[in-house]
Amino acid sequence: MKQNNMLAMILAGGRGSRLHDLTNKVAKPAVSYGGKYRIIDFPLSNCANSGIDVVGVLTQYESILLNSYVAAGRRWGLDAKDSGVYVLPPREKADVDLNVYRGTADAISQNIDFIDTYSPEYLLVLSGDHIYKMNYAKILDYHKANNADATIAVIEVPMQEASRFGIMNTDETGQIVEFEEKPQQPKSNLASMGIYIFDWKILRKMLVADMKDPESSHDFGKDIIPSMLADNRKLCAYKFQGYWKDVGTIDSLWEANMDLLAKNNTLDLNDPSWKIYTEDTTELPHYVGTNAEIKGAYITQGCHIEGEVRNSVLFTGAKVGPSAKVIDSVLMPGAIVEDGAVVTRALVADNIRIGANAVVGSADSDHIELVAKRVKGEE
């Protein structure tokens, strides 16, 4: 709290059901991305790199892995004195019924006591399932310079896609005049990134009122932001420029991985001034065999490649056997493609084995094939 008097809360309770089998056992923020990361490494690393010392992570759905993963705050350097990552699942309290988090705002409301122990001036609310690099100190500076009650990060999206997002309509000074959730006729293309800075005292009052409102769905987008606008509070939009992706589906998760193959891609995970931190594994550097053929690939520790890899992303410990081909695909951690197997336009889930000479996916399919069960090969 010494650096900027801002505490961060990451909403990480969502399932991400459109990711199908990938989120059967883990919440969406814990899904693997980019060879060695999990999605939640991005907001956590952003917090660490932005000088935020205390981060609460609100978990709910299938949270065993996520809870133990984020609790080790030292992975992101969030382990100094007065610093830490706190896992906050719903809990039983004196005089209150135990409730699951009924919405994004309710998740914060149920942890007012936690936030109060740090008495922050500002509260940063983040989503745990977006991939981007952002310096939150800059948005805080913007928030202070505008003397705003709340600041919401927005990104310009193509106008034809604007109806898929929560859209902020602003005046010429960047002040938000209207918020529309997935409007059919969007008036602007400024989409909310689900990143909010609030004046804690003001938000606290609103949350207390919201908790008592039986009509409320306890959601930031649907309830809190509209009632702040109705109260004539000053809400500002902070325009973010750079890579930002919400990976809701198998196709978009695949695509976000493929984005890393472009030369000078805008996410630039190789930037030493803004590293994304993650779990440290004891895997070896990757080994490339005598007959391997690698053209256009993103490959990490523990991989072993004897066959051909084209335009693909290989996660920790993925293996490609002799004469096997992996084309336009993503191999999640520990996935194994045995000798002679061919994988095309597919996303192979964690620790899945594709048997010898098996064929998975196809070059002209509309959608990416998710392989979440063992594929038997020729014996």
Binding site: L260, L261, L269, N270, L284, V288, T290, I294, K295, Y298
Partner: protein, 370 residues
């Protein structure tokens, strides 16, 4: 049985041209991701040894930075301890710069330990070994001292700076002497010892009394007749780093995946300090074969039979053949490199080709631009 782990530095008869000007051998990069000292420390940590002393006699900066609190070595952060003990005894004459002098200087730390045994291992040899097994064998044999050795069949041209054990048929050590390259088949002493801590302390004082030049192997050689000194054989990958050629060979031997499997084992992890580098990116023009590649690299060129350290850049048309590239080196467009050790941060961008013979690999200095 609890043992105190001691990791020793290389004697002053060992000198790795170029590389050692910047750091002690223990801090040498190995396979890009590791440093040589990760192997003895991980061996100890995996064997349940959590009191570890690392001795260093020159340029401690890189080692201190790498070891940190020792947390990454999986040593219990409350009950365990990783100490870096710096000693500088060779100022007036390098002959004073012995392991014995370093032990004398830090004797307090050795005496304060409550472990009944010591395991001493070198920072300049690469191998995997369960010391728990070695201690068990040592205790069961009733020997006073057990020494680890590795049988080789190329002692005429390799391991020339190492000691050899002369063993009798019962694995009793008759003497320890320098490998003078006179025979092919020798049992190379791995500079690894197990004995009671009290005996160790006694030997250190005895050596000091006899001569300021004495080293631990020398005093044990003198005591071979009096004490029961036995050899224990090591199997699996074994390499020593005693000159540039052996450093080069130790890395490139692991381009054979069979050797990788003999050094690395899922149940015997080798720990190191993470650098949080992102994965490596291969572009369409990349052509990589029979190599080990670390994270954070950008590869557009050709790589063959080489170790590519963390964060290296290999441009289009470049060829890297039989090389060891340390981290964050750059090989410019159309540059041809063969049989080179390229030190950290070096950039080879103007030279067209740099070729050496594998019997005498070339060395390119740290931070150099060529």
């Amino acid at each position: 049985m609890k043992a105190l782990g001691i990791i020793n530095f290389s004697g002053h008869h060992i000198r790795v041209e170029g590389m050692q000007d910047y750091r002690p051998i223990g801090a040498f990069s190995f396979l890009g991701r590791y440093r040589a000292i990760d192997f003895p420390i991980s061996n100890m940590s995996n064997s349940g040894i959590d009191q570890i002393q690392v001795y260093v006699n020159q340029k401690p900066r890189s080692l201190a930075e790498h070891l940190g609190t020792g947390r990454h070595y999986n040593i219990n952060s409350k009950r365990g301890k990783l100490q870096l003990l710096f000693s500088e005894n060779g100022a007036e004459n390098s002959l004073y710069d012995t392991d014995i002098a370093a032990y004398i200087e830090n004797m307090e730390c050795i005496e304060h330990s409550t472990c009944p045994y010591v395991v001493i291992a070198p920072s300049y040899m690469i191998y995997a070994q369960d010391f728990h097994d070695v201690i068990k064998t040592h205790i069961e044999s009733g020997a006073d001292i057990s020494l680890l050795y590795h049988s080789v069949d190329n002692a005429k041209e390799a391991f020339l700076n190492c000691d050899v054990l002369n063993l009798n048929k019962q694995k009793g050590v008759l003497s320890i002497e320098k490998n003078r390259g006179t025979a092919k088949n020798r049992t190379i002493f791995m500079d690894t010892y197990v004995m009671k801590r009290e005996l160790f302390i006694e030997l250190v004082y005895k050596a000091k009394k006899l001569s300021s030049m004495y080293t631990l192997p020398q005093i044990i050689n003198v005591e071979c007749d009096e004490l029961d000194v036995r050899g224990i054989s090591h199997r699996g990958y074994f390499a020593t780093i005693t000159d540039l050629k052996s450093y080069f060979d130790a890395n490139l031997a692991l381009m054979d995946f069979k050797n990788v499997q003999s050094l690395f084992n899922e149940d015997w992890p080798i720990y190191t300090k993470t650098n949080d580098s992102c994965p490596t990116q291969y572009f369409d023009t990349a052509d990589v074969k029979r190599s080990i590649v670390c994270n954070g690299c950008l590869i557009e060129g050709t790589v063959e039979n080489s170790v590519i350290g963390r964060g290296c850049i290999i441009k289009k048309g470049a060829v890297v053949k039989n090389c060891v590239l340390l981290s964050e080196t750059e090989v410019g467009e159309d540059v041809y490199l063969e049989n080179q050790v390229v030190d950290k941060h070096a950039r080879i961008i103007h030279a067209k080709e740099i070729i050496a013979q594998s019997e005498k690999p070339g060395y390119i200095r740290r931070e150099d631009t060529i």
